[in-house]
Amino acid sequence: MILNLLIGAAIAIGLFFNALGVFGILRFPDVYTRLHADTKATTFGSIFTSLAVALYALGRLFETADGQYATLLLHTLVAVVVLAITNATGAHAIARAARRRGHSPAQAVVDKLEEPAP
């Protein structure tokens, strides 16, 4: 019962942050600020939805002692670690590609990449 509540809360928080990621994409002015919303909000969102899966697997594992729930739990944990690494790397790759394509940051107060190296 309490476990079900916890799972529901984790899914709700995860969906909230993922939804904020979508709003960020629609709302922010250029590719760099959109990447902020896209990578960060969705990292947290995915961690919480994965937490819900892990809690469910733990609960079922104690109930049934079935090996398949241990598999589910471990695969979810591996997925979270891989997600955190690839999310940052992917965001950096997109930002670098946009930069090389010549996109300047919108509304920027400072842009050190434009200036020659000291």
């Binding site: 942050f17 904020l20 990621g21 709003f23 960020g24 709302r27 922010f28 250029d30 760099y32 600020t33 990447l35 902020h36 919303a37 990578t39 960060k40 909000a41 990292t43 947290f44 090996g67 398949q68 729930y69 241990a70 598999t71 471990l74 695969h75 591996v78 955190a84 690494i85 999310n87 940052a88 790397t89 965001a91 950096h92 930002a95 670098r96 930069r99 940051p105 919108a106 509304q107 920027a108 107060v109 400072v110 842009d111 050190k112 990449l113 190296a117 000291p118």
Partner: protein
């Protein structure tokens, strides 16, 4: 040889993690799975040993670095990441942004150190690594909210990008 063993052990542990729950041997694995795991780990260890353990520095062979890396990922890094998400959520809702690209002196000597710092910066509050100056290992960081006064300065220290913890010195102890 040592780098082959270390890489093989690491890939075997990953294999065990991914196949746990397949049988009853030792509680979790089947005999066929363990045998296949040893063989695959040997092949992977031989092929990937030069990438996993830098032959000149052999940093991956020092267990303390692994302990510190896990401690860093669970402690300071995770808390900074949590703050980043709340911060970005706040900016999405209010729309209060002041973007800009600043130069950050990384102070790292090795590729691994620069990589870890760049990824840590991308996942922490309001900052996104856009580019790198390959001569000096300086990073160009897009900030969603440049604090007042920062835009006139030539460069920032890596420590100033993180709000609470001293992540660069953690990374230096893990990777350098």
């Amino acid at each position: 040889m040592a780098s082959f063993i270390a890489t093989g052990c690491f890939s075997f542990v990953v294999y065990l993690l991914l196949t746990a729950g397949s049988g009853r041997l030792l509680g979790l694995w089947s005999g066929a799975d363990l045998l296949a795991g040893v063989m695959i780990a040997a092949v992977v260890g031989w092929v990937a040993r030069g990438f996993f353990c830098d032959p000149r520095r052999r940093a991956a062979l020092q267990p303390m670095r692994w302990v510190r890396a896990i401690g860093y990922a669970c402690g300071p890094f995770f808390l900074e990441m949590a703050k980043a998400n709340v911060d970005v959520a706040y900016r999405v809702i209010t729309g209060r942004i002041r973007p800009g690209i600043v130069r950050v002196r990384s102070g790292m000597q090795t590729d691994l150190g620069v990589l870890m710092l760049a990824n840590s910066i991308t996942l922490t509050p309001g900052t996104l690594t856009v580019g790198i100056d390959e001569d000096t290992n300086d990073l160009f960081v897009h900030m969603i909210n440049v604090p007042e006064g920062i835009e006139t300065r030539e460069s920032l220290e890596a420590r100033e990008v993180f709000s609470t913890f001293d992540c660069p010195s953690w990374i230096r102890r893990i990777a350098e």
